[in-house]
Amino acid sequence: MKKDIILAGVGGQGILSIAAIIGTAAINAGLFLKQAEVHGMSQRGGDVQSHLRLSSEEIASDLIPGGLTDLIVSVEPMESLRYLPMLSPDGWLITNTEPFVNIPNYPDINKVISEIEAFPRHIALNAEQIAKDLGSVRSANIVMLGACSPFLDLDYYLLENAIRNILQNKGEELVKINIDAFKAGLKFAEENK
């Protein structure tokens, strides 16, 4: 088993939390893992990405070789396209459709969405709306985690347990909200893949 994943978004959107949950689940599954993160200046509203590599064999590089990424998981639609050169010809593009506009020259969102939809293997969902409907707009990142979960080759229970582990100190209510967000993302992906 080998999965190379690029997590993308804007600083502050919670991609490192997605990485932490998948990472915990992968370690508990006995897999090897490497995960390169971006800290520092870019976290201030700039584009951020994380290279997450899972494998049953030992992993050499912390960075994924260009053109071999299995999954791009993005919490922001334009950011999902920034890493296309990294994506394998048979990889999946999984993205939130709600734009995060903090620059004056953000492109026409329709153009962004149609580019995503033109991609043969994609899952595009409004994670913000789904999270909002569940009562916690800040769980949009966990909706995206759910949406990419069918492609991870990790047991559902490992992922759910990782969410519980990481959130256990923050109260049962928050755990429930996030597990619901996770399930909602998963359901969308299962129905649309």
Binding site: N28, K34, H39, I59, A60, M78, P85, N105, P107, N178
Partner: protein
Amino acid sequence: MEWFAKNIEKLISFVNYIRNFNQNKFMEHKLLLLGDEAIAQGAIDAGLSGIYAYPGTPSTEITEYVQRSKEAHEKNISSEWSANEKTAMETALGMSYAGKRAMACMKHVGLNVAADPFINSAITGAHGGLIVVSADDPSMHSSQNEQDSRFYGKFAMIPILEPSNQQEAYDMVNYGFNFSEKMKIPVLLRITTRLAHSRAGVKRNISKEQNKGGLHDNLKQFILLPAIARKQYKDLLNKQSEFEKASEESSFNKYIAGEDKKLGIIACGIANNYLMENYPDRKVPYPVLKICQYPVPKKIIEKIYDECDEILVLEDGYPLVEELLKGLLGKGKKIKGRLDGTIPRDGELNPNIVATALGKDFTKGKEIPEFIAGRPPSLCRGCSHNDTFLALNEAMSDYSKGRVFSDIGCYTLSALKPLESINSCVDMGASITMAIGAADAGMIPAVATIGDSTFTHSGITGLLDAVNNKSPITILILDNLTTAMTGGQKSSAFGKIEDICLGVGVEKEHIHIIKPLIKYHEGNVKIIKEELAYKGVSVIIPRRECVQTLNKRMRAKHKIKTVSL
């Protein structure tokens, strides 16, 4: 039965989960750690007594990990932030003097600040194990240059360890402390951003007790009077052959035989991973020398040089090994690397750059669509700096452009659109001193903008110069009550700025505290304008808490339910 068929997958996954759970319980437990965190855990387990540092990307998480560690707390390991890297380095040296294991951590440019004690610590030597961690940032993800700390290690003539992965980072700390005590020498641990900020599973060793402490045999060792320093320096020179021997015998340096002798590959530190990534079965057809401990292992290098037609050197950072091999005239065998263009001269390595250097093809994905816009970092919504610079911009509109010297921190982002407020960012503290020089050259008024933590790091001495020089400069000390850019560490300046300014000799009537909020904009502009007109040193302190730390504090206080993960 129907229910069973429907849910069979879930059942299987549940059974697997239980099985995995039990297996993990009995399996050797691995911690999922950043390279930085692996160093910190390695130090705690190796009997560390004190870690001293100033925050700086990508080194910050080493000290933060020790500060958060319950174990470190129970063991009473000192881990309070230092005012700057120089004080950190000196404090660590003091702990080594007293016989305990100490670590000083910094980003690469921090080693410039600590260079004086660092270079001299090679002459004094160490007593308790002393490791200096310098985290380099090739490609300048969050830095003003991409200097390679290995040159500092070579310059100081001390051993250097350069881990290629998180496990080595963990293991090298214990090795480094032992080696430091055995050879009575500080050891430099050099990492780069990719290792510092990448996570992997790390296996721990049994934790060691701390040293009891006590004096070294030679009480003159640390007195670098010329007569003693000359002797100490000779000792250092004499140790070089032992350092080299240790490199040749080190398990961190590995020669791996290869059939095809047309090429020999020398891969340093993390570059080794990018090489291996290009061979999925991990079998490289050429002889490979992995170097993770310096001085360079001369004998093994000689072996690979002699047996191969050409040498390819892979190293993240500057071409240190490549230059050594090539020599001034480059008359020997062909050495390929950053100097001959086989690899780009600047920027960090990655698997594809190494593939190209090996003449291998790699898969390319689709092009980025043309309409994708860049998204540079920016000041947060609600950031106090934004309101400060709006006021400063308006106050400066009476003068010609190019008068605002700035410094290192979040506020450096005010150089970008739409604010475009500042004209310089060089090194910690340079805003005040550059403003003095510019004012001396006739640029009056000159303005300095410096953050609270940067001010106590390296701004106070510059302020003293300004006061003694009676410089017509206006200094804005942007006080957001934290070291914000690196993630909100405690600022040494907290609650002390006015007193420091008064103590240094700034006149009381020219020290102002303003609240950077749009509703006070006009009043703030007026104060800045008045002080710009004053022909002496003025200090204005725009004070408002960083919105990031404020949010964090509020969340902790109220445990807001909608908080995201």
